[in-house]
Amino acid sequence: MKADKDFVAGRIVKNTPDCFTGKVVNFYGRLTEAVPWYLWWLAPAFIILAAITLYPFFWVIYMSFMKIQLAPGAPNLFVGGKNWVDMWLDPSVRQGWGLLAQYVGVCMVLEMGLGISIALLINKMKWYGFLSTVFLIPMMVAPVVVGHLFNLLLNSSYGLYAWLLETFNIYAKGSLISNPNTALWAIIAMDTWEWTPLIILIASAGLKSVPNDTVEAAQVDGSNQIQVFFNVTLPYMTPALVIAFLLRFMDNMRFIDLILITTKGGPADATKTLPMYLFLRTFRQFNIGSGAAIGFTLLVVIIILALIATNVLLKEREEEFEQG
């Protein structure tokens, strides 16, 4: 058995010499002299990345000036800026931006606020290890499952949360999800449930980077807890918090899984945020050109906002990074 293996291994080595002998290495050597080394390292990733992202990018711009015909063989028509003008005049787009701002804004405030507070509370607690392990779970649940889970929890006839709301006499008029006044808030609650733990974990990591000496020195100087928090703890946590903020902000702006599973933009358009409207426009009304214009605008706005956020919040770090 062993001999067999050796024999096979030997044969493989004997039969595949060319890859590693003189010619090839020299050829490689000559190439590496002509081309900077990093191109070889970058090439595989960037060729794939370019192939699968550049084309869609330009295609979106192209489509936004066309009327896309769905019938096979029918040529696409150039319509100039019509899709763009339509986008500006479309009240649904305006409403979509408003809802998106409300959704993202409330989610970010809730998640960051809760996340930082809980992180401060459980930091240095005896149970920290256990709690942080439990808090890992929600963010591992797929949004599809979260949507269905809360659909069931809030279901007016057999949901646990509907039962709780009824028991405490808070709300007993059916599911929160099917009421236009509360639907968006229900989705915000789901998002908060799923992602506050991520903020807690990242904020805790940030808290661990705060040196104890500095905190003690500030306390000796007579600062109270609130002053210590704002002058000492928070600055140390900022970089970690910026990462948490950016990750959540970008994903909240982009993803519609939760809305798609729970309300599909309803009831009465109460949850038709811009990406959701984009989905309906593209995949339900099949107005692909118009969807492209909206999608491109959304992408540009996300990039600009993310840039502003990084630059404002991480200004000093950026400079340090560029020097280094």
């Binding site: 390292w41 392990t133 890992l136 949004p143 982009r254």
Partner: protein, 286 residues
């Protein structure tokens, strides 16, 4: 006086933590208990105010494997599971190694216009999936990989590759160059330095990247829904198909959800120590 106020503060603190703990855990317990019930039992809820009934509903119920049986034996969940595993493993298998090389070059090379290149990499991850779905659909149709696993793997690579470059570059930046330079002086090549010095040092970062990339593709719904179609349904698509116009099979959905989170939690626990420090340390530099 002083001692009293401290203990009151402590009590409030514990109450807040307990409330948040319940808020986090109750849905999970509800999901797990629903997954192990007969379909009829899932929809039995006590009268408002009947707390004992709620405890029975969450903890003391008749355990049944009916939902798992329906999904895996009668349904096609083994196929979905296989599709999910293949798509996730292959996409991570492509993205992370390529990302490693690219991140190393981005970190060490004196590349002209590096900032702009890096910016482009990050923006590819910011694109709203809905916006790029149509062009990807058209592109995939041209290549003939629509509704195949290969198509899905490539689709996941569109967001995993930039993400792994982003994260890994942060880790590489945090390693001092001097270590590699010592290796060059000893006559080693760049590859040697990379494999012998850099890779062992960024192991926590590598673990974090692998987990997060797996999580994103494993939980993805939209790409699998539009580009996957009939040929390569993944678990999220399979789960969402349990909802039809007339009925929602909540039992199977909960069981499916359970099947989906178990591997992710296991992975998460294995590298928990590095997960968050990895995330913050890696991304902070970018």
């Amino acid at each position: 006086m002083n001692r009293d106020s401290i203990s009151v503060g402590k009590v409030i603190k514990i109450i807040i933590i307990a409330l948040f703990f319940l808020w986090t855990v109750v849905p999970i317990i509800f999901m797990v208990s629903s997954a192990f019930k007969e379909t009829g039992d899932i929809f039995e809820i006590p009268q408002p105010g009947d707390w004992k009934g709620i405890f029975r509903l969450l903890f003391f119920f008749k355990v049944s494997m009916a939902q798992f049986y329906k999904m895996f034996i009668e349904g096609k969940f083994f196929k979905y599971l296989l599709n999910s595993v293949i798509a996730t493993v292959c996409s991570v298998g492509i993205s992370v190694p390529l990302g490693l090389f690219a991140a190393y070059a981005m970190s060490r090379g004196r590349i002209p216009g590096k900032k702009h290149l890096y910016f482009w990499v990050i923006t590819t991850r910011m694109a709203p999936p809905v916006a790029v779905m149509v062009p990807l659909y058209v592109l995939w149709r041209t290549y003939g990989i629509l509704q195949t696993r290969i198509g899905l793997i490539l689709a996941y690579t569109t967001f995993n590759l930039p993400f792994s470059i982003w994260l890994l570059r942060g880790f590489m930046d945090s390693i001092p160059r001097e270590l590699e330079e010592a290796s060059y002086i000893d006559g080693g090549s760049r590859f040697r330095a990379f494999f012998d010095i850099v890779i062992p040092l960024i192991k926590p970062g590598l673990g974090t990247t692998v987990i997060l990339c797996s999580l994103f593709s494993w939980n993805d719904y939209l790409f699998a829904l539009i580009l996957g179609g009939r040929g390569s349904e993944t678990l999220p698509v399979g789960i969402s198909e349990l909802e039809s116009a007339t009925s929602i099979l909540y039992g199977q959905i909960m069981a499916g959800g359970l099947v989906m989170i178990v591997p992710m939690i296991v992975l998460g626990l294995i590298i928990k120590k590095y997960l968050v420090t990895g995330l913050t340390m890696g991304a902070m530099r970018g």
